[in-house]
């Protein structure tokens, strides 16, 4: 019997994909910094690699049900777009957000950074969905200390 997570409990995982810079040294993009999440809402905030994100992205878009998509121009001057995709997957709700620095590019691997949020009704379902997507439950990439 699955244990119902009541409204007062955290019932979501929130992942932020990090991509190294061109020299492969510093992780210059972090969705948690761009969109600070309300920490109290989430069971876990997890930093993942760009490879983790791309693998999960491909799986969700192939197997999930797309509920809605939105594109919001963040800055016309810099030509930055925020693309949001909502899915039903494995009885969970998944929201993916990607920030693109140029309007010409739309492939996931061109995103400057990306986040995945999983919402489920039970802790078992939450873990099941993260597991099916091979997403780690502990932060895999640590940010360098602030200069």
């Amino acid at each position: 019997m699955n244990r119902k997570i009541s409204n007062g409990f955290k019932r979501e995982y929130f992942f932020s994909a990090l991509k190294p810079d061109e020299e492969g040294k510093n992780y210059s993009f972090d969705g948690f910094e761009i969109f600070p999440p309300p920490v109290s809402r989430y069971k876990r905030l997890i930093r993942i690699t760009g490879e983790d994100f791309l693998r999960a992205y491909a799986q969700i878009t192939a197997e999930g049900i797309c509920i809605s998509s939105q594109t919001s121009p963040c800055s016309e001057r810099e030509e930055v777009d925020l693309v949001g995709l909502d899915f039903l997957y494995n009885s969970s709700f998944i929201t993916m957000k990607s920030l693109f620095k140029t309007k010409r590019k739309r492939d996931a691997e061109d995103a400057s950074f990306a986040t995945i949020r999983i919402t489920a009704e039970t802790e078992e379902k939450l873990n099941s969905t993260a597991g099916r997507l091979n997403l780690p439950l502990e932060t895999r990439v640590e940010l360098p200390p602030a200069a």
């Binding site: 409204n7 909502d86 949020r117």
Partner: protein
Amino acid sequence: MPDIYRRYYAAETEARDLSLRLGQFIPPNHLPAHISLELFRSAVSEVEKEGIHLLSQFSSYLYNSTNIVIFYIPRLSSSGGGALMILGETQDKVDDTARKLNLPLEILASN
């Protein structure tokens, strides 16, 4: 990509007018099934109480492994009227949610 399964319900208002307002969400040739205002309010109350509010969307919930979106039409909001859409990964899941909310199954969404 797998198919999406849906059911739509509208309380009180003219279905065709409502479908125009919800046009971006409802495929062509699909109109909401009419339900009573009382039934609509009861379903909304249950979803708000037991569902998980999805942070990024104003009236979107995860309930019984399905996504429920509630629409309040400004013209009808004072009377508590509006519409409700159930989205799911299978028809069985959508129908099960409709049953849990005491919403009718015999009226097809395409009616």
